[in-house]
């Protein structure tokens, strides 16, 4: 976990940081000087845009600056998975789950199903294999819940 992620309070952003974050969640120009083009929209120089994006990455406000792929269209497999793990074994099971390359996100949630993660693999068949690997490593069942239909894809956060 990054230092910023462990901080108790949200990081402090100035108005231009916020404008950049809000503006660039929707897309990035595909042109030869994209940072200059973004700068024109926000009254910043090309160098300022580059420096600010780099700064937001360094401070952990952005996890990435790049593409959001549609895994299935690349031929990969993607599934949400959940496990019910006894409290006392949570740490050990969590460590075993996170050790797998296929595990992308992993959140604890306050429910009997208390461990939730995303499996992402290069082929659709890899999902079942990854789930079996986790079950073998931990002794607990993995409940796979791949999406059947998606109703919304506009995840955005106002900074």
């Amino acid at each position: 976990m990054s230092r910023a992620a462990a901080a108790a309070e949200p990081v402090v952003l100035d108005a231009l940081d916020r404008a950049l974050i809000n503006g660039l969640q929707g897309g990035f120009p595909l042109s030869d000087r994209p940072y200059a083009e973004v700068g024109e929209r926000f009254g910043l120089s090309e160098d300022d845009v580059i420096a600010r994006i780099g700064g937001l990455l360094d401070r952990g406000v952005l996890s990435r600056f790049g593409p959001m792929y549609h895994a299935e269209r690349l031929g990969g497999g993607l599934a949400l998975a959940a496990m019910k793990v006894p409290e006392g074994e949570f740490e050990a099971v969590n460590e075993a789950v996170n050790a797998l390359d296929a595990v992308a996100h992993n959140y604890a949630r306050d429910h009997a199903f208390n461990m939730w993660f995303v499996l992402a693999t290069e082929t659709p068949e890899g999902i079942d294999a990854a789930a079996r690997d986790i079950e073998a490593a931990t002794g607990y069942p993995v409940y796979l819940m791949p999406k059947i239909e998606e109703y919304f894809v506009g995840l955005r956060f106002e900074a």
Binding site: M1, A5, A7, P10, I21, L24, Q25, G26, G27, F28, L30, D32, R33, P34, E46, I50, L57, V61, L62, S63, F65, G66, P67, M68, Y69, H70, E72, R73, L74, G75, L78, L80, D101, V103, A104, H105, Y107, A108, D110, H111, F113, W116, F117, V118, A120, T121, E122, M145, P146, K147, I148, E149, E150, Y151, F152, V153, G154, F157, E158, A159
Partner: protein, 168 residues
Amino acid sequence: MDMSPTRVTAADLCLVNAIEDGLPLVPRPFEDIGRRCGMSEAEVIDGLRRLQAEGVVKRLGVIVRHHELGYRANAMVVWDVPDSQVGDLGRRFSAFDFVTLCYRRPRRLPDWPYNLFCMVHGKARDRVLEQVDHLARECGVADIPRAVLFSGRRFKQRGARYSRPEET
């Protein structure tokens, strides 16, 4: 949404790999990527434009750590909806601006009866719970079984290849 694999060429794959961890922070990022893939800047731009049009790249831009922006109350709200109504309800849920993602998923009976999932991210739990109540009332589903699972600790936010899913 069409989820079938699209035809991805070797050149496309090079692009996908080259930008996976992030766009280069240099004045001409697509020229930089082109050097790595043996392509011209224009070819890279055309290629990315096509991958976006085909839906392989859902979007290009900043991916925020919502937690660092103060979005600490991250709720996965799950509903046990009759199968005949799930599509209709999913579309209605997604029209609310505080619903950031909405998916139909399989039930895992008998342990897990819920088949419609939506995410509500907010800055405070009370407010998120109010929004969930509001959503249920407005959509006429206040009496169907639901559960609100707030996230606790985050253990891993990245890692898998091509995955980088937005959130659960």
